[in-house]
């Protein structure tokens, strides 16, 4: 089973990297960019087939390591 965990910065947390990317896109002349926030994507392959168990394991992984929940939110998707 394949899964994806997406980690994003909570709103209100300053994201200097996103700001730098936003500036670069603007200087490249890419139209209509209002703002950019950078995040992370983890593609995870799971060995079992139980979806409920998989979801619980992924949440555990995100809480324990993948995200720093002080500043980041995460979303778990089973693909």
């Amino acid at each position: 089973m394949k899964a994806r965990v997406t980690v994003t910065l909570k709103s209100g947390i300053l994201d200097p990297q996103g700001k730098a990317i936003e500036g670069a896109l603007k200087s490249l002349g890419v139209d209509g960019v209002a703002s950019v926030r950078q995040g992370k994507v983890f593609d995870i392959e799971l060995s079992g087939a139980d979806r409920a168990k998989a979801e619980a394991a992924l949440k555990d992984a995100a809480d324990k390591l993948l995200a720093n929940t002080v500043i980041e939110n995460y979303r778990v998707e089973l693909l």
């Binding site: 300053l14 200097p16 730098a20 390591l65 993948l66 002080v70 500043i71």
Partner: protein, 233 residues
């Protein structure tokens, strides 16, 4: 003073730290490998040094914070043992949940490697008793992610409880935007936990302890720790 310096893959300041500890206390520090599950018997100070543990993968300090030895450090801290984290060590202690908040990318995006001035906010702690309150010291920083941030309530609590021990300032001791090199909340350079036995700081006092380094302002921190532990023993 029996100190233990933690060694993670990618750490690079552990020898500087061990040297500073020996200079202050006359005793060799034990080097403790990240995969160890116990600290040496009789340890009274654990130091998490600077560097780039695990190549800063995922987030600075995130992987080191989950290394086996950290369970022993958590227990040591819970029992009241003194823990000092410098630079990457500060990041690791935050990621390990031993200190609140997080170290974000420097607000001006650049890696900063230079001497800075710090104001010592109080002198009645094991980590600052080698200085006078309000004293300005000069120590180096070398980091890309030292911008201390926490939610408003946490920062308020840190301030209210006098847990900010070191703050970026000008050479004259003035805390202002210009001297706040990395954009940290309230110019925070170093904080302690609620109990006051765990300090995390971004600057490197261990790199200003000998005349050959051009400055010895960092000595006070280690001398203070040694004096504190000598008195306690």
């Amino acid at each position: 003073m029996k100190s233990a310096v933690l060694v993670f893959p990618g750490i690079n300041r552990e020898r500087d730290m061990a040297r500073a500890l020996k200079l202050a206390s006359g005793q060799e520090a034990a080097m403790v490998w990240h995969a160890d599950t116990a600290l040496p018997d009789g340890t009274d100070l654990v130091v998490v040094p600077g560097g780039f543990s695990y190549g800063d993968y995922l987030r600075c300090g995130a992987i080191a914070a989950r290394a086996p030895v950290m369970d022993a450090v958590r227990k040591f801290a819970a029992d009241g043992g003194l823990v000092l984290g410098v630079c990457n060590g500060f990041q690791i202690l935050c990621e390990a949940g031993l200190l609140p908040g997080v170290l974000m990318r420097n607000s001006r995006l650049k890696f900063i490697c230079k001497d800075v001035h710090l104001r010592v906010e109080r002198s009645d702690t094991p980590f600052t008793r080698g200085y006078n309150a309000g004293q300005v010291i000069r120590v180096p920083v070398a980091h890309g992610e030292g911008n201390y941030e926490a939610d408003e309530e946490t920062v308020k609590r840190l301030e209210g409880e006098g847990r900010v021990l070191y703050r970026y300032c000008s050479a004259e001791g003035v805390v202002d935007e210009e001297s706040n090199i990395n954009g940290a909340a309230e110019s925070i350079a170093g904080i302690v936990n609620e109990r006051g036995n765990v300090l995390g700081m971004m600057p490197h006092p261990e790199n200003h302890v000998e005349d050959i380094m051009g400055c010895t302002d960092g000595r006070g921190l280690f001398a203070g720790l040694a004096a504190h532990l000598e008195k306690a023993a």
